[in-house]
Symmetry: C2
Subunit: 493 residues, 2 copies
């Protein structure tokens, strides 16, 4: 093709493109058209392009528009400018590129990615009844909270806008240290607190820094799926530890090889069974950890929400210098989307945790942290927790009342001494499946207890969140469940 034929083809094509309706700037459209023709092979290597002057004269665009588009293509290597001789299509061949499929050839995930996905449901909340991990958002003092947050959204020192490696805002670290010391019996100073983007990030950090891929981690069975996902993402070998009425029973896996590097536990309110780790087991667990130089990862996710006696002191504070990393969160006491949590790290490790956290995850918004410190120091946080304890006691009672026709007929519930849910124990997986399916059919979303098990052993049941729905909202689905359970008993399924 002669230069003139190419010029005519390009000018004709651009005129047609520019006549089409589009929201994009003209220069972008010229650039896109030329690039597409080069990549598709319609404009071939070494073909000469019309000059910007000619383009401007023969099409509806200014000289600068033409120049801008051509310069960009030269800068990106699609065109080459030859001194005094015009602009040419680059000699690079785009063969193969034009007929690429519209999706990558491979969409497979890694093995650990698939393991994580297996415990990553699509949590579409449709109705607050029975939703897990959902506090009473309808009772959250949102207006007051937003006011505190707004108050801290004021231009401050520029440093607040930069990356930092402080482990968190000093005011928030101090407020949390005071709180966990007094309310949770944690032995720590403010400099041992590391503010995280919620518990999940804290678990990821602990798993990465304290264990290598292939190392063993004891994990409660049944247990919290988020911990399972974090450990699987970190390539740990999960050793399921059975949980009975006294919490996890380490003696059942004491001879498992290799020895654990991490031991994950929820001692104050085991998730999901709601039992407490007995003192004897706590001492044994500390001893096991010491013996193997393992770390206990204590996830104290909602223990302030206890309805029988005061909250139980944590494992971390049971012995001086216990090999425990303690994790706390505001997701249950305030609201999940806040996404602020904290870990308490022994002093020997804290500066390394701080640096690695800043490297791998960066630190949290200082203004938000300052607002939360304010909310804690003003007493609003403690007041909210007290209020929520009363609220959840009432909501749990409402669920129990709704389920009374079933419990009177033998349905067994967990103690409900703490937390945001009850477990209803069933007779068989068939019964569990039947109730979940029937629930789905009437718009009641039910969580299976059996999915929280990781070893071979499993128990049928339902995990029923009661905190997110008020007394009126829980009555209908609760009543439905009682009837459905009785029907399933009568049918012997």
């Amino acid at each position: 093709m002669s230069d003139r034929a190419v010029f005519a083809w390009v000018i004709d094509g651009l005129n047609r493109r520019l006549a089409e309706p589009s929201g994009d700037p003209k220069q972008r459209r010229v650039y896109n058209a030329l690039r597409a023709w080069i990549v598709s092979g319609e404009l071939m290597p070494d073909m000469r392009l019309p000059s910007s002057r000619l383009l401007a004269r023969e099409t509806d665009m200014g000289r600068n528009t033409a120049l801008g588009a051509i310069d960009q293509l030269v800068a990106e290597g699609f065109l080459v400018a030859r001194e005094g001789a015009g602009v040419y299509v680059t000699a690079v061949g785009f063969a193969g590129l034009s007929d690429t499929p519209n999706a990558p050839t491979s969409d497979r995930l890694s093995q650990r990615g698939r393991a994580v996905l297996a415990v990553s449901p699509d949590d579409a909340v449709t109705h607050p009844a029975f939703t897990l991990g959902m506090p009473a958002l309808d009772r959250f003092p949102e207006a007051r909270w937003r006011r505190v947050v707004r108050r801290h959204q004021r231009p401050g020192a520029q440093q607040a806008l930069h990356y930092r490696t402080h482990g968190g805002h000093p005011d928030l670290k101090a407020a949390i240290a005071d709180y966990v010391r007094l309310a949770r019996g944690v032995v720590c100073q403010a400099d041992q607190i590391l503010i995280t983007h919620g518990t999940q990030q804290g678990l990821g950090l602990v798993a990465t820094l304290l264990a290598d891929g292939g190392d063993s981690a004891w994990i409660e069975d049944p247990g919290y799926l988020g911990a399972r996902a974090a450990f699987q993402a970190a390539d740990l070998r999960l050793i399921p530890v059975p949980v009975d009425d006294d919490g996890l029973d380490g003696s059942a896996v004491a001879s498992a090889h290799p020895a654990p590097r991490l031991i994950y536990t929820t001692p104050s309110n085991q998730y999901p069974r709601g039992v407490t780790l007995a003192l004897k087991r706590r001492l044994a667990l500390l001893e096991t950890a010491r013996q193997h130089e393992a770390w206990i990862v204590e996830d104290d996710y909602d223990s302030e929400l206890r309805y029988v006696s005061s909250p139980l002191a944590c494992l971390q504070g049971l012995a001086g210098g216990a090999p425990v990393i303690y994790l706390g969160t505001f997701s249950k006491t305030l609201f999940p989307a806040l996404q602020l949590g904290y870990i308490v790290v022994p002093r020997a490790l804290i500066s390394r945790f701080r640096r690695a956290n800043a490297r791998l995850f960066r630190e949290e918004d200082p203004a938000l942290q300052a607002a939360l410190a304010d909310f804690m120091n003003s007493g609003e946080f403690a007041a909210h927790i007290r209020k929520m304890r009363r609220c959840y006691r009432r909501r749990q009672a409402a669920l129990r009342e709704a389920l009374a026709p079933a419990t009177n007929a033998g349905l067994r519930l967990s103690s409900g001494a703490a937390g945001l849910h009850l477990v209803a124990y069933l007779d068989s997986i068939a019964q569990e499946t039947r109730l979940v399916d029937e629930g789905a059919a009437v718009g009641v979303s039910l969580a299976r207890l059996s999915t929280y098990f990781i070893g071979g052993r499993t128990e049928p049941g339902l995990v029923l969140g009661y905190a997110g729905a008020d007394e009126a909202e829980i009555a209908r689905p609760g009543g439905w469940l009682a009837r459905a359970w009785r029907a399933s008993q009568d049918d012997g399924s």
Copy 2:
């Protein structure tokens, strides 16, 4: 010891404790004292405690205080209540617990933890001159930004407070999709955007989901330390790929085994060398990725800040269905502490990325995301970028001017076509060390180019951030550096 002797000992001890000044509530102090005596063995298994009535009469506390402390210790298993016979110390032995060291026996990190730590400096910013990754925070329209954020801090739908698996706020995803399509040539729709807690989280997610521990990842050498840390945390085997003036040169490692699963690159503005990946190399890289079913991880961290020609189109958009995960961030265009980034994921993978991200990291604050969407849609974001391009061009010029005495004498600088820093190439590691040490002595913090290398090869130089300090602030340290460099040349070191 008789019961009466124990009673007297306890009452005496408590009276002494209660007489000491303390900010803690009385019940907490009684609880702490009793617990400590039990754990230390001063109160031994099966010893009987004085009744709450006796305690209240003989000490300065009310009956409820005594009851509360005792109930708590019973709930936690330290005391046992025997029906009608009083309260006794539990039979659990605490031997070994009392003389535990005050720190865990082991403070060792995992191998990968140590690898991450090696690239996790303590980034204490002392002076803005030469600081890396620091945009012009002094020019950020912070008052206007805070106003937008405050406007979105209004009580909204309760759902905004709960966990979600949407991949981000729909308004922000739409605004980003529009922006990257137009400004960066990314081929995507809004549903392919996943909002992350900054680039680091995005890198962690990609490494976890698309590669398994031990898989190979190509990484630019020299290259971005954050990517190196993220991949090391994910246990990937790093294959350093040399970077020349045309960007990373995959042909240099084409025969490395095993084949890569991930290929990390910063094609628009290679970090830290500041070169552009040539078109030929881009095509070759796409071909390599296809051949090995590997994923290219395109980190487009600051390419909108380009001072010569328009920003270069990204690799992701070069071919339809390219096997590319594209990462962007607002850390450089707005401010680092904002901690919002995004990844663009092929449609075949996006729902799995969304679910895994929600499981492993949870989603970002919806109010903050809505505020950012607002900031983008109002045009303030684009206006700020335009303004910053002019600002950084001036600041880079100021640095070049301050360094002129050195560059005129042969100091070689990188092109500075884009980004927030210049590289000054040196003659030897000895010279690099000398300048860094001399800088530290006069309070000028200098980053070594050699630390960005991972393979055997290394190059001496300094990586000089120029964006964070204004023209006046850069003059003195810049002038100092020019003199120090000349002195080091004269000394032949």
